[in-house]
Amino acid sequence: MINVLFFASLREQLGSEKLELSSDGITDVQSLLSALTKLHPNYNNAFNQSILVAVNQEMSTREQTLKPGDEVAFFPPVTGG
């Protein structure tokens, strides 16, 4: 399983705080995003924005490889002030 977390305004936008996803066929963050979009087509808009990703509490990229048990957190960049 992959543990997926959504933080801050992304959580609000998706109406979801966390979900578990089978790790079958998920090799990296990019393929996780594809799997999530297939499950929830309405996530598509959110993922097309600029979003940040952390794997096991460490900032990562969409190319980051994943293994079962990983925790993947998504959240928006904040640039205002």
Binding site: A8, Q49, S50, L52, E58, M59, V78, T79, G80, G81
Partner: protein, 250 residues
Amino acid sequence: MLSTQEKLRYSRQIMLNKVGEQGQLKLRNATVLIVGMGGLGNPVALYLAAAGVGKLLIADGDEVDITNLQRQVLFSQQDVKLNKADTASEKLQLNNPDVDIEVIDEMLDEELADYYIPNVDLVIDCTDNIAARYLLNKACLQHKKPLILGAATGFDGQQMVIDPNNQESACYQCVFPSAENAPVNNCQTIGILGPILAVIGGVQATEALKILMGLPVKTNRLALYDGLNQQWQYFNVKKQTSCTACGHSK
């Protein structure tokens, strides 16, 4: 040496073990550049001036707008149309006449950054757009000055400290590498709840005082504040060797 008056005025921080008279002297001898005198710049400047930081450079080219007043607590209705840095300077000076305040009444561009940053002890990023943040990041890397990032929109905030004197410290572009799909999400476009700025600005000012007094601060960490859920999350950030701003390929 601190004067008797200074010892009294700052007594509530001097009595802290981690501050003391030595810490207060360090604050008095310090120069800080605050870039942006909007939602974040307001509380940052208020608390640094109150704490007795010797010299504050405050930079903003914008005028006070009626839509700022919901969150920019240094300003009131009669300040509308006046330059933000100018107006803030007057009020800060009234709060603490000891502090030397220099106004930079324009947006900090590369030239101004290169002019001012070499002479400051640290820079506080209170800007409201990613282009300004990239620029400050680059200038602070070049001049080896600590940079305290803060950002806020909606109910959310983010905070990070960059220390270019530490070889391992990640920079802003290590976290936000691409300007291509850079968000244009600022307080004008997606709004903000005012006190989120007090929280983030308060953290920035705390980190600034700690750095000026020689206390350790955390680098390589992006802190995320979710005000709707009232929860902070922390993420480690590694310096990216591929970073175009601070990495080998720069």
